[in-house]
Symmetry: C2
Subunit: 355 residues, 2 copies
């Protein structure tokens, strides 16, 4: 669900992608994204692709063939990042935990000890496939001390909870437009620290992707305005409207709203007999993942929710396919009444009253 103001923003008259009025929107989007990332990084732009394009941007700009990277994997999106790094020719050192868990800082510390030349460490902040929230602060400190780059996937978390890019010593952080930021899918915000920018500049081979080459994108989004590609104009309108809504609400208030609504959902689901997939203390506010009660088929439930109540919830990915429900309450959708309606619908379908 999109806020009405975001929807209507897309019917504004089309501006040329180099029209001064559109360039002003591009500047404004950069400035607003710095606020939600909580960073002073100059290089903060929306990639003209989805969150996966931003993920690829995060590795492709700093990794060259034979570079080493440590990747924390406890779900589908950690696997994906590792795969993208391998396609850069990098040597990937995987630090694995079971799906639903988070990566302990000691394991990253040990991996850095085993692989002292690792150029980067990558973690998924909000693992969309499991609903687990990865703590960042301690890892950020030890990666910085080691001198490596810290890459963080905030696809599901940005705009719904604090990321604190600068305070957490994150060098590259990226997200998408359609989750907690509340715009439609199609853009992938990313921010690079001076250290990351420097690493990209010092590489000895060209970035293998021309489309995602941050050095070229910098000239387009910077004062030179050197033509690179045609920015998706209407998508940038929508992102602008969504970011103004987020900042206007107040980021602290917005995070609090996601937390309050997420907890309400957790309690309600437990009352209906669902089991929360992630341990307390590591659950995401904007994405709640549950196993169904005994003798309830997750896929049947999903289909009936969509067909009979127009409620869309996601299923498990990869190994969790058919086993889990993943329920997102993000951006404009993070409202109490959506929780109540979902719990009502689930109660009806399971033929029981919420406890």
């Amino acid at each position: 669900m999109l806020a009405p103001g975001v929807l209507s923003s897309m019917t504004a008259p089309m501006l040329g992608h180099l029209d001064p009025a559109f360039l002003a929107i591009m500047d404004d989007n950069q400035s607003l994204l710095r606020q939600v990332f909580d960073t002073t990084n100059r290089l903060t732009v929306p990639i003209s692709g989805t969150g996966s394009a931003a993920m690829e941007t995060s590795v492709v700009n700093v990794l060259e063939a034979e570079d080493e990277i440590i990747v924390g994997i406890a779900g589908y999106f950690g696997e994906r990042l590792a795969e993208m790094a391998r396609r850069c020719g990098a040597r990937v050192h995987e630090v694995r935990e079971a799906a639903g868990r988070t990566i302990p800082p000691e394991k990253i510390e040990k991996a850095l000890g085993d692989h002292p030349k690792a150029k980067a460490v990558a973690l998924i902040h909000a693992e969309t496939s499991t609903g687990a929230c990865q703590p960042l602060e301690e890892v950020g400190q030890l990666v910085r001390r080691h001198g490596s780059l810290f890459i963080v996937d905030a696809v599901t978390s940005l705009g719904g909870m604090p990321i604190n890019v600068d305070a957490n010593h994150i060098d590259i952080c990226y997200s998408c437009s359609q989750k907690c930021l509340g715009a439609p899918p199609g853009l992938g915000p990313i921010t690079l620290s001076e250290r990351a920018t420097h690493a990209a500049r010092e590489r000895s081979t060209p970035v293998q992707s021309w489309y995602l080459d941050m050095a070229l994108l910098t000239k387009y989004w910077g004062s030179e305005r050197t033509y690179h590609h045609t920015a998706p104009v209407t998508m940038n309108y929508a992102l602008n409207a969504a970011l103004h809504l987020a900042v206007g609400e107040g980021l602290a208030q917005r995070y609090e709203r996601h937390k309050r609504v997420g907890e309400l959902l957790e309690q309600g689901l437990e009352g209906l007999g669902f089991r929360l997939f992630v341990d307390a203390g590591h659950r995401l506010p904007m994405l709640t993942v549950v196993e169904c009660p005994p003798r309830v088929d997750a896929e049947t439930l999903r289909k009936r929710l969509l067909q009979e109540y127009s409620i869309e919830v996601a299923g498990g990915l990869g190994e969790q396919r058919g086993k889990l429900l993943r329920i997102g309450l993000m951006g404009y959708g993070a409202q109490e009444r959506n929780v109540q309606y979902l719990l009502y619908a689930l109660g009806k379908l399971l033929d029981r009253k919420p406890a």
Copy 2:
């Protein structure tokens, strides 16, 4: 300018990217794109990025390190394609002509003779930097006879003139959403022949871009619906509305409209003392490129058109910067009254009556 129906399509309720109702729109977009490409290629999808992402997709899926490719270069976008091919590690054999000219088939034939192992030949159908239209038929025949793949950039031409992908023996053809198709920028339609699909399947190394890997995209857009990325939902609404408008108008009628309006513009500009940059017989209908009359500064004229008349025309790219005006009349914008208004404005600014 967008047609009103395309603008309003984007305010339709957001569907989930795996919602059956959205999957039906994805299928419909594939089917409609086959019509404008004039192909039966099963693998015909909009890439979730701009035309430049589609260009990168065209080379990155078939080229591996040390592969050879022949690239025709007579402007900025030929240079770009060659650069992308080099970033795949390919050996690029350039066939050059001056900006504004087209590549003679004999030169391609000679290049194929000199480099018999060339895996692909790439040409820009409509060179957006110069306004030249590259003939395809003869080159298509000789590339097919040679057994190489024929890659064609139709970023500016698709939807505004015939491409005839199958009849011209084109193996990979790509475009963008915002020019003659008449949707906003943000998607890059592409089509791959069975031969191109086979070449991608037979490669010995993974495609270096995960985001643009057609084998993965095929599973997402095909019947498996294996999750790859989140398709830009509203952009696909807009593309759907725009493609229905195009097919509803009749493609032959649409091409005729672009031709009629383009010729009207050419005549009017010559009457005002502009010199057409491309020789007769090789001019694009949807993009007219001119040199300014003596003592008229192109950049000043562009700025005044935008500020005083809200008319946006493009300037020269690369070496042609500051020397040319590039005037697009594409999709919904290809209307007689837009030509008349532009000629009126230019007449006023140059203080002379159209001849």
